[in-house]
Structures are given as structure tokens and as C-alpha cells.
């Protein structure tokens, strides 16, 4: 063994290479392996305890991971890679991002460095006589590892500063986590110290490559006389104990997220943003003639959730990123997604006393779940991949199944049943306006290339009529072959689903899909992003496939193909664009509307600070258009204020609900009339001098 062979002369004379644990008894290295095994056993025991507390068995977890593996782990690996190794979401916060990068990156490198040593010494070297920690590779590796040690110290310092001095409300400084940080710091510091001691005891010609250790060596040179083998060996022992304390004990601290979060990310990786998992497939349920007793679409208590959702809740690190971006929280509604997840997690880990559902037991208030706009801003930020809006809808489902909703919501559901629209207007008036405008129905124009799905807002709402009018004018000008369903169009049930009537939504979707199929419809264009996500993504998850595009995409491609002329001038002042949540964040359509806005307003286009993925809801999402919740401010007012702050005199949007909300906010804006609010199609039609067909 190198240690027993360790005369100085030998070391000094040779080219750069790794020397295994000089100055340590041979048994020491076997002790490390023993300690490693003990440490792994402890970690496994802690992990088991941790997941079981959330009601998840390791077997379930293993099964879930096997499932991912068998379905092709590519996607999960890519997401875990980006989020864990790339720290994609974590990096969005400057301080916490840097801190995580330093700790995670450095720890990872140091671990890798140690593994390489073990591989060379106890595997390739021992059995094949092959060594690779030599030459330039070795020198660079050493320099990197020194950097990592410094990085780890800096990261831990930042973490300690954050928990002990900055003290954000969401982070505590429990003794356990302090011990974990101390262990990391001691590990890194003793690592450098050992390097320095070794350099002094066994000098090598390449010691400046281990620059940090070298500096420490310079610092401790005056003490060199007092250094003896005992001190050196004791430092080694401290180093090893610190390393294993962290490795074995992290799972007993707030740092357990290093294991829980990556696992949760893997488990949640295959989901589209905003997609609601099906609690059941009604069509299959009815076909199988199965017993519906006990079938439920929501949850009354977190303990009823399936293990994946329990694991998800348990992964929350209480970082508050969700709360920071939540428009409901910003408006002073009684909802913070962080507190909501924490309350559910808390109740899952140690259920509060009392009988009944989580609302009866005071875990959450019903107003809290009704405050959510299903905007998905929180879920997009959450570094632990927790789906707050879905969890919220699942609690709404429970309330609806229990009949525990107020009259405003009950009325919307009743009107959907009776009038086939949430506004409660007669179904036979749906097509009246477009019929007058001579818009062909699919019966009149069978085989039309596009079915234009008009949606409830533009069928009934006086203001939103203008959007349909503009779209129709544009489609006609470009010579697009289209038709509408006419009186047989009905609400797609997006609001019904968000209100929590899942069975009603699925029932409706089967009927609508049947109508569409009976007309041989395959391609659909709609100007309503709520209809877009429902007909596109949601119907697909129910096994019904239609090709659906948003009007902004179709119109933009018509412009690009030259089938629509580009308008010449723009006099509307600064134009900004508000990304509707369902179109942007939840459907990924960002560029087409911007292309449209640019062709209308050219250089006068300005971006909002919260745009694209970071967009801020108009206040109508999650069915909030149809009822009120207590709040300090209106969400729409906040959003309009952001547009005003950007100096916009025109706010373009691409959703009839956003249009209605923002226009309302503009009408009541402090300091008089706010900016003009219009749909992109309206602006384009106007700029082209088209009369909107059917405009009021």
C-alpha cells in the first residue's frame, strides 16, 4: 500500500499522480468502508421513516420509478437533469440560486472526486493495475476539487447567513439543519487542511495545483514544528466523521429535500403544465358498468390521496416561490399556495384532531380553494414540482360532490346544465348573432377546412362579440374555408371542470366530441384559450383527438403566407400584450401573438415585465369570472396597473375573458380611463380597415 510505501523521496521525484492516504495505517481505509456502509444504512432507515411518515411505502416508490423506467425514462431523465443538475428553477432566485449551485455543485464534485479515488485504488488499480489519476488530468482535477471545497464553504456560509441572519419567514434554523451545515463546512475545511498538512509532510512538485490547500499550507507553515502524525490522523478522522455525519444524517433535517425533490421531479415529470390528472375516465367507468359507489373525484383529507400525491405534498420545501408569483396572493385573497401546501403537508404528516373533511377540521378555509385562478404561475416556479392548482381543483371537486358550494357557483353549474353556457342565457340565442351575419354552419358548409369554435363569451357577451366579428372578417379576407357549429355548439365545460364538477365535464365532453365527430371535424380554430386547452389537451387526455389552433396562430400564419396583408400604420401609441394563462404558460403559445402584435404596432410594441411564462393572470381563471371571493384588491386591477406602468396606451390580449376583465379594470382605473383593451384580432382587423362582421 502507498501509505506504507510513503518515503518522501519517492513522492518528490515522480510525475504528478495520486498518492493514496499517506501517513495513515492501512486499516483506516477499510474503516472508511465500514463507516460508509453504516452511514448508508442509517440514511436508508431515515429515508424509509421519512416517506412512511407521508404514508408512502418505499415499495410504492420503487414501483413508481420502475414504471417510469419501463415507459422509457428519457423524459424523466431530461427533466431531472435540467432541474436537479441544471438547477433550472432554483437558479431563478439570485441568492438562493447561487447558494444551491455552490453547495450542490461543489458537494457533487467532491463526492465524484472521492469516488474516483476509491475506483482507482480498490478496483482498477487493485485488479488491473490501471491508474488514471495521473498527469495533467490529475492536476486539473485537483485544482477543480480545491475550487469545489472553497465553493462548498462559500455556499454553506450563504446558507447559514440566510437562515440565521436574513431569516425569511419560510425558513427556520432548527438545530438539525445547523448541524448538517456545520458538518459540510467541517468536511470542506478539514479537507483543505489535510491537503496542507500532507503538502508539508510529503512535499510534491505539483502542490501549487492544489492551490487552496497550498495557501493553507503557507498559513500553517509556522506551526509545522508542532505538527505530528497524531494531529494529522486526528484531522483525518474529523474529516471522515463530518462527511459521514452529513451523508447519513441529512435526511433527518430540512435538507431531506436533496432526496425527496429529485424523486418527486422524476415522478411528476411527464405532465403537461396545467393538465389535470383524471380521477376516473367516465366513459370507461360507464362502459364497464362498474359500481359507482365509492367513486370520487376529489379528496376530503390529504390522507386519502394516492401515494404519488402524498409524496408530492411531502416534497414541499416551504421556499415560498409559489407564493411570490401568485396573483391571488398579490391581490390579498385568502390564498397562499405555499401555506396551502404546507397546511396539507402538515396535516398529512401529523393529522389534526377532529372529525370530517379538512375544511371541517380547519386545515383550510373554503374561500382559500375558491381563490385560486388555476393560472399555473406557482406550479411553474415550484422547484419541487408540486402541482398546487391541481391539488386545489381536487379539493373543489370534493366540495361539489358534497354539495358544499355557495349559490353563485351552484348557479353556474345549474346554468351549464340548463342553458349549455355558464352565463345562463338561452341556448337558442347562441347562434343568433352569427346567423344574422351569414356565418355558415357546418351543415351549410360540410367539409369546411376549419371548424371555428366561437365559445360562450363571444356568443353571448356584448363586448366579446367583437372578437368573433374580427376573426370572421380576417378568415373571410384570407379566404379560409370555415364553418361554425351554430346552435349545437355548447360550453366545453372548462369552467365546470375548474369548479370541480369532473363527472359533468367528462359527460359533456363525450357528447361534444360525438357532435364534432358526426360532422367529420378534425381541425378547429378558436379565439378562446380556455376552449383551446379543453378541446386540445383535456380532450386528448380523455382519448379524443382534435387538431386545435388558436386564432393568433392561424392569423399569424396567414400573415406569414401573405394571405393577409400587413397593416401600414399604427396610431395606438405603445402597445403591450398580456399573455393569457391558458394560451401562454399552459399551452406554450407565446410567439404567434407577439408576431401579430408586431405586425400591427411595429416598433411601438413593449413587453410587460411579467410576460410569457411569467405572465400574471387577469383574474378570470379557474372559473373566477363567475363568482367573487374576499380580496383587498382586484387581480385585474393589478394586471392593468402593470400595463400602465409599462406606459402602454393599448393592451392587446388574445382571450375573451382577459379582454372582459382588463377592460373592466381600465374602465374603473384610478385616475380616469385606463388604456384601451382589445383582442389582437380586433386590432389587426381594424388596422386593415375591416368592418368586424357581427360587431355590435
Amino acid at each position: 500500500m502507498a501509505a506504507s510505501a510513503g518515503p518522501r523521496a519517492l513522492l518528490a521525484a515522480s510525475s504528478p499522480h495520486y498518492v493514496y492516504m499517506p501517513g495513515l495505517p492501512g486499516a483506516f481505509h477499510w474503516l472508511i468502508y465500514v463507516a460508509l456502509i453504516v452511514c448508508l444504512v442509517v440514511a436508508a432507515w431515515l429515508f424509509n421513516r421519512r416517506v412512511r411518515a407521508a404514508g408512502v411505502s418505499p415499495a410504492e416508490l420503487a414501483h413508481g420509478l420502475r414504471e417510469i423506467a419501463s415507459k422509457g425514462p428519457g423524459e424523466a431523465l431530461a427533466v431531472v437533469g435540467a432541474e436537479v443538475f441544471g438547477q433550472r428553477r432554483v437558479r431563478r432566485r439570485p441568492y438562493a440560486g447561487l447558494m444551491h449551485l455552490l453547495i450542490f455543485g461543489s458537494y457533487g464534485m467532491l463526492t465524484l472526486g472521492t469516488v474516483l479515488i476509491a475506483v482507482q485504488h480498490d478496483f482498477t488499480g487493485r485488479f488491473f493495475g490501471v491508474t488514471f489519476l495521473n498527469g495533467n488530468f490529475y492536476l486539473v482535477e485537483k485544482a477543480l476539487l480545491d475550487t469545489a471545497a472553497l465553493g462548498l464553504l462559500a455556499g454553506v456560509a450563504m446558507a447559514a447567513w440566510r437562515r440565521l441572519a436574513i431569516r425569511p419567514v419560510t425558513l427556520g434554523a432548527r438545530p438539525t439543519v445547523v448541524v448538517a451545515y456545520a458538518a459540510l463546512a467541517v468536511m470542506a475545511a478539514t479537507g483543505l487542511l489535510l491537503e496542507a498538512m500532507r503538502e508539508l509532510a510529503y512535499p510534491v512538485s505539483w502542490s501549487h495545483w492544489t492551490y487552496a490547500g497550498h495557501l493553507v499550507a503557507l498559513a500553517i507553515t509556522p506551526l509545522v514544528g508542532r505538527l505530528n502524525l497524531g494531529a494529522y490522523q486526528a484531522t483525518w478522522v474529523v474529516h471522515v466523521i463530518a462527511a459521514f455525519t452529513f451523508m447519513g444524517g441529512a435526511l433527518a433535517t430540512a435538507l431531506d429535500h436533496v432526496v425527496l425533490v429529485p424523486l418527486n421531479i422524476a415522478l411528476q415529470s411527464s405532465r403537461a403544465p396545467g393538465e389535470l390528472r383524471l380521477p376516473f375516465n367516465l366513459a370507461e367507468l360507464l362502459e364497464s358498468g362498474g359500481d359507482l359507489e365509492g367513486v370520487s373525484s376529489g379528496f376530503a383529507n390529504p390522507s386519502e390521496l394516492d401515494w404519488k400525491r402524498r409524496f408530492m405534498l411531502a416534497s414541499c420545501v416551504n421556499c415560498g416561490r409559489c407564493e411570490e408569483v401568485c396573483p391571488a396572493n398579490a391581490a390579498g385573497r385568502p390564498l397562499s399556495p405555499r401555506k396551502l401546501v404546507q397546511a396539507l403537508k402538515g396535516d398529512l404528516l401529523s393529522p389534526s384532531d377532529g372529525a370530517g373533511d379538512l375544511f371541517a377540521r380547519g386545515v383550510l378555509d373554503t374561500d382559500t380553494v375558491w381563490s385560486c385562478l388555476s393560472c399555473g404561475a406557482c406550479a411553474r416556479e415550484c422547484p419541487a414540482f408540486i402541482d398546487q392548482p391541481e391539488t386545489i381543483v381536487e379539493m373543489r371537486r370534493h366540495l361539489v360532490e358534497e354539495g358544499n358550494v355557495d349559490e353563485a357557483k351552484a348557479l353556474v353549474l345549474a346554468q351549464l346544465e340548463r342553458n349549455q353556457n355558464p352565463l345562463g342565457l338561452p341556448s337558442y340565442q347562441r347562434f343568433a348573432r352569427l346567423a344574422e351575419a351569414g356565418v355558415p354552419t357546418i351543415e351549410e358548409n360540410p367539409g369546411a377546412e376549419y371548424l371555428y369554435w366561437v365559445g360562450c363569451m363571444s356568443s353571448y357577451d356584448q363586448r366579446a362579440w367583437g372578437v368573433a366579428g374580427a376573426v370572421i372578417s380576417l378568415l373571410r379576407l384570407a379566404g379560409v374555408d370555415f364553418a361554425v357549429l351554430g346552435e349545437s355548439e355548447r360550453c366545453l365545460g372548462e369552467c365546470q371542470r375548474k369548479l370541480g364538477d369532473e363527472a359533468g365535464f367528462q359527460m359533456r365532453s363525450m357528447e361534444i366530441a360525438e357532435t364534432l365527430r358526426s360532422h367529420g371535424v378534425t381541425k378547429i380554430v378558436t379565439h378562446c384559450p380556455h376552449c383551446l386547452v379543453t378541446l386540445g389537451r383535456d380532450y386528448r387526455s380523455l382519448g379524443m383527438e382534435f387538431e386545435v389552433v388558436h386564432h393568433s396562430e392561424l392569423v399569424q400564419s396567414l400573415l406569414a403566407q401573405g394571405r393577409l396583408p400587413t397593416p401600414k400604420s399604427w396610431e395606438g401609441g405603445k402597445l403591450t400584450y398580456h399573455d393569457p394563462c391558458n394560451l401562454g404558460r399552459l399551452s406554450g403559445v407565446f410567439d404567434a401573438p407577439r408576431g401579430l402584435a408586431a405586425s400591427v404596432a411595429g416598433e411601438s410594441f413593449v413587453e410587460l415585465e411579467r410576460s410569457r411564462e411569467k405572465s400574471f393572470c387577469c383574474g378570470a381563471g379557474g372559473s373566477n369570472y363567475f363568482y367573487k371571493v374576499p380580496a383587498q384588491e382586484s387581480v385585474s386591477g393589478l394586471r392593468l396597473g402593470q400595463a400602465q406602468a409599462a406606459g402602454a396606451s393599448t393592451v392587446a390580449t388574445a382571450c375573451p375573458f382577459c379582454l372582459s376583465m382588463l377592460e373592466d379594470a381600465a374602465r374603473t382605473a384610478p385616475g380616469g380611463q385606463g388604456p384601451r383593451v382589445a383582442d389582437l384580432a380586433e386590432l389587426l382587423a381594424e388596422a386593415l380597415g375591416l368592418e368586424a362582421t357581427a360587431a355590435p
Binding site: 373525484s297 360532490e401 355557495d406 349559490e407 359533468g504 359527460m507
Partner: protein, 258 residues
């Protein structure tokens, strides 16, 4: 305590319209539980939670079975639906006769609850007629109920006066929409009600003579339905807000509203 609730299958009035040729288009309209009856169902289901047995009685076409499932979803033990070809022309008298037969056959009941009126006929007669046939007291228009073992306290609103009536059981009470707010019934809740809870019966099974229910034998008959043009108009005022306000005030004064 045993409670009978009358729940009617009605077309949704917001979806009823006249065709261009002036015919009433009821067929296409969606159907539902009469909204007033929902309040009776809600009240009964609350009483059921404290131990009452609740039976629903109805007269209606075969499609009404689906509506009965919805009514049952409020929380009732079972429903009895009387039907037959005669239903299309049934008048309040005939309906009350059939419902009385159901009440006797399934009874005795301590309390009969019903909505004050039905949205389709708007006669507000059936509960009273039923009480007469059963020989029990009848109180209409309840806004609150206090059900005791032998009597029920009924609160009614007459104009801006509230009165409280105490009536001995058994009794028939019709309820208004102020009584309670009925819970929302989810699609799933309706689907979970087994069809076996709805019993359909015909006149013969109720011991009634079908001849007495033939169209000619009934005392009243709906002979015509006509649309009435209500005089409504609107006028858009334009201009600056201050001008509009002044003009509006002048117009309202002119109409005698202000």
C-alpha cells in the same frame, strides 16, 4: 317521522321559446326538478339526517325517472313516479288525485312538503288539493319550518309581515324559495343514485280508474298558449358623462320615476 315530498319534472323555462310560427317549443327544452321543489327536498333531506324517512312522489312522463334520480340525490330513501299517457293532459285535480293515492298507499305520512308552485303550470293548486283529499291541514308559502313530534311551526311572509302558524301533524306544507338554499347536486351524485330507487306505477296499480283520467273526463284543459309582447325598449344616451347623467335624470323625471 315519515315525510312525503312532491317533486315535479318540469321543462326549463329559460329554454322555452316560441317558434317563428308562434308555437310553444317545449319539447327541445331541457328538463329538471322544479326549482321550488328543490327547497322541499333540501328541507326533507335535512330532517332525514335526524332520522326521518323521506319518500318522493311525482307524476310525470317516463323521462321523469331521470329527474327523480336528481331529486333522490338530495338525500331521500326512494321515489314513486306515477305515469301513463294521461299525464300529458293532467290538470291539478288529476295530479292531486294520483298523488293522494300514492300518499295513501305508501303512507301514513306525518308531513308532506312541496314547492309552492311549479314552474310549468304555475297554478299553485296541487298541494292544497292534496291536503283536501287527505283531509289534513294545509299551510302554504313557508319561509321557515320548525318540525316537532306532533306539530310543525310554519313561518310565512305576507308582504312585510311575518306570521308564524302552528299546525298539527299530519299536514301538507308548501314552501317558498326563502326556506333554505338547496345544495348543489353534482353529476356524480346523480349518477350514484341507483335506478332501483325509483318505482314507477300506473293508475291501475294505484287502484285508480283510468277512465276518470281520460282527456274528456278532466275538468280543466289547456286550450291555448300565446306569446305576449311586453313593451320594453332601450335608448342609448351618448356624450360626456355629465351630459349623459343630466339627460338620464331628465328622462327619468319625465317618466315619473324620479
Amino acid at each position: 317521522m315519515r315525510i312525503l315530498v312532491l317533486a315535479k319534472h318540469v321543462p326549463d323555462t329559460t329554454e322555452i321559446r316560441f317558434s317563428p310560427t308562434g308555437e310553444l317549443m317545449v319539447r327541445q327544452a331541457p328538463t329538471k326538478v322544479n326549482d321550488y321543489d328543490r327547497h322541499a327536498l333540501e328541507e326533507a333531506s335535512r330532517l332525514r339526517e335526524s332520522g326521518a324517512e323521506v319518500v318522493i312522489a311525482s307524476v310525470g312522463p317516463p323521462e321523469a325517472a331521470k329527474t327523480m334520480k336528481e331529486a333522490l340525490a338530495y338525500g331521500a330513501d326512494r321515489a314513486v313516479l306515477a305515469g301513463g299517457a294521461w299525464v300529458a293532459d293532467a290538470d291539478p285535480e288529476a295530479m292531486a288525485e294520483v298523488l293522494a293515492a300514492i300518499a295513501r298507499r305508501q303512507g301514513p305520512f306525518d308531513l308532506v312538503l312541496a314547492g309552492d308552485v311549479s314552474e310549468d303550470g304555475y297554478n299553485a293548486l296541487v298541494p292544497g288539493l292534496l291536503a283536501a283529499k287527505l283531509g289534513t291541514p294545509y299551510v302554504r308559502g313557508a319561509t321557515a319550518l320548525g318540525v316537532g313530534a306532533a306539530s310543525v311551526k310554519v313561518t310565512r311572509l305576507i308582504g312585510d309581515v311575518e306570521e308564524e302558524v302552528e299546525v298539527a301533524l299530519p299536514a301538507v306544507i308548501s314552501v317558498t324559495r326563502l326556506l333554505n338554499s338547496p345544495r348543489v347536486i353534482s353529476t356524480m351524485a346523480v349518477m350514484k343514485v341507483p335506478m332501483s330507487k325509483v318505482e314507477t306505477v300506473d293508475l291501475g296499480e294505484l287502484g285508480l280508474d283510468p277512465a276518470a283520467f281520460a282527456p274528456g273526463a278532466l275538468s280543466t284543459r289547456l286550450s291555448a298558449v300565446r306569446p305576449v309582447q311586453s313593451k320594453r325598449g332601450n335608448e342609448m344616451l351618448r356624450g360626456e358623462p355629465a351630459e349623459i347623467a343630466a339627460e338620464l335624470a331628465a328622462k327619468l323625471r319625465g317618466m315619473g320615476v324620479l
